[in-house]
Symmetry: C2
Subunit: 385 residues, 2 copies
Amino acid sequence: MNNVISADANAVCVPAIAPAARPGDRLDQVDTPSLVLDLDAFEENLRTMQVLAERHGVALRPHAKAHRCPDIALRQIALGAQGVCCQKVTEAACFVSAGVRDIHISNEIVGPAKLDLLARLAAHANITVCVDNLRALHGLSEALVRHNSTVGVLVELDIGQKRCGVQTPQEAIALAQAVQQLPQVRFDGIQAYHGGIQHKRAHDRRREAAEKAARRIRRYLDALAGAGLDCRVVTGGGTGTAMFDVATGVYTEIQPGSYAFMDNDYGRLDWGDALEFRHSLFLLGTVMSTPTPQRAVVDLGLKSTSAESGAPRVFGMPHVTCVAIHDEHTMLELKEGADRLALGSQVRLIPGHCDPTFNLHDEVVAFRGRTVEAVWPISARGLSR
Amino acid sequence: MNNVISADANAVCVPAIAPAARPGDRLDQVDTPSLVLDLDAFEENLRTMQVLAERHGVALRPHAKAHRCPDIALRQIALGAQGVCCQKVTEAACFVSAGVRDIHISNEIVGPAKLDLLARLAAHANITVCVDNLRALHGLSEALVRHNSTVGVLVELDIGQKRCGVQTPQEAIALAQAVQQLPQVRFDGIQAYHGGIQHKRAHDRRREAAEKAARRIRRYLDALAGAGLDCRVVTGGGTGTAMFDVATGVYTEIQPGSYAFMDNDYGRLDWGDALEFRHSLFLLGTVMSTPTPQRAVVDLGLKSTSAESGAPRVFGMPHVTCVAIHDEHTMLELKEGADRLALGSQVRLIPGHCDPTFNLHDEVVAFRGRTVEAVWPISARGLSR
């Protein structure tokens, strides 16, 4: 194979590609596929969760992994959020660069390049990070010593998700004591997140699961206290259980992410009448083919919305169902007798799962009513190291 | 909400994020998650498909939607490919900028911004595009008149996929005749792609389905010929059916994409002993947590690999199974008695579906043996308009 073949990485597209949207545009002028955010619904969701947390004296630290968008994080913080959570060090670097100064990396960080970046980041912001392994903790401390920076450490507990985290109170105590003995790391407390219960549909089953998780956390806290280990921070909880988590008394902080957007996965839950979030995030698509009266094909697919939890849902058109999603197409089926969708008309879809959907887009088009108000870069898109 | 809040879109990450890999690095030094390409397997796959097409006198026009990477397209063309297919106009613009001069947009293009870009692109490269609707055809011709450029038009047939495409030979004839009457559009032939049969697992059932599709195309070709409409181009076929498509005698050109990479979806097919492709594309991950002897957690998830067709498959470790994938984690389960995976060790995963997986990454790390040979930008990532 010819080694001289090489595409120019810095080539600018000829001809240039026009932006999908500009502030002041009408929403129906936005080119598609685009990810769009209804600011009225979004702002209401932010306030709803902030008020819930404050009413219970619990800090709100929204998970920025949901959106990877600094403009959104800054708005969450302006309303009273403590800072944000990130899941990755490179993601955190992006938010620090955008001016966020308090970041919890709610994940285990392993590997020399990542530890090096983490230690350098800690010179620019208040950083906490999770640990569930003694060897990993030693690596973290050594990297921090090399860069003369400090982070807070939260011992992660596995309270039923069966992902990361220590398995017993004894392990938690041993790790916390090791943190206290190592340089440049500070024992701040614990993280206990149970993703598996966030999507239990029934309101009561979700509440029971959240309360059971809280009882497990309590047992860990008692064991740690018995060993003289005080947890300044107990962080966990998500959008599905936040309304129950805040009332358990075990958390000092909750870390929901999806509440700001309410994707289709969360939209399917039974919310009782306790807490209401609105769908604020949509995919805007255009009808590109109408081969039969009952069939319409929309110009977006798996490269614009993640579908591991199912196809997106059509918004505001009760007679239209999304029946399949391909790489670049979404297939809609119309009820018999319904008016054919017009070629070139716009369709709004609710994404199944907001986190990986945001990560497919370079920007989100923020609108109010029928007008584009801003176009926000999703600056941490693709930053998964 | 405070309107002055604004993240700096041009902010550079402070501190800077180091590249994941550099040419000359050992593969086990590459930071993770990374998308990596085994060049020996990749080049063999390219040759296998090129030889198949040439032996049957059929042109090969690989689908660039599979990789969105100009460096890969240029290698396919250097080996004899006719050009590439794209699915989107912005994607095509990227490949034109990288030096590709013959592009078939295998999709319907609707909307003023897209038609404007398409018409401007046609001044820089030989472009063909699909049409399945008379109104859309008029819009295309008008945009081309405005820019004084020309494209070839392929009438798309729905031969069973039930996506885009005309439904009857009469519709095909009417559209083709309209193309002949409108300015700046040239009738070049037909596109007939049946994605639904590409993944039929059994070799014989896939062959029968491909032959049935070819018979449908033949009926369309006969009807068009009866109306005096000659099809210079008959394009279609994919990785799953290419071996059968080339022998049917109806296609002048095949447009497979995944053959170069052989993802897990295609790897599951029964290939008989007729055609062999090797897995060349992998996700490189790091074991970031080993909370129990049987459990290992890898530092990549839905933001690094698409999973709508299932979790990725572990490569080269028969005792390890991928049991779940979350946003940023992949859960591995070890057979009882197997050695625990070492924290910090690398794992290679075969992605379920290559097209949307490429679209999650900014670059692909090309390696040979144990050494990184190049890092290729996936320049058309995210270009879905």
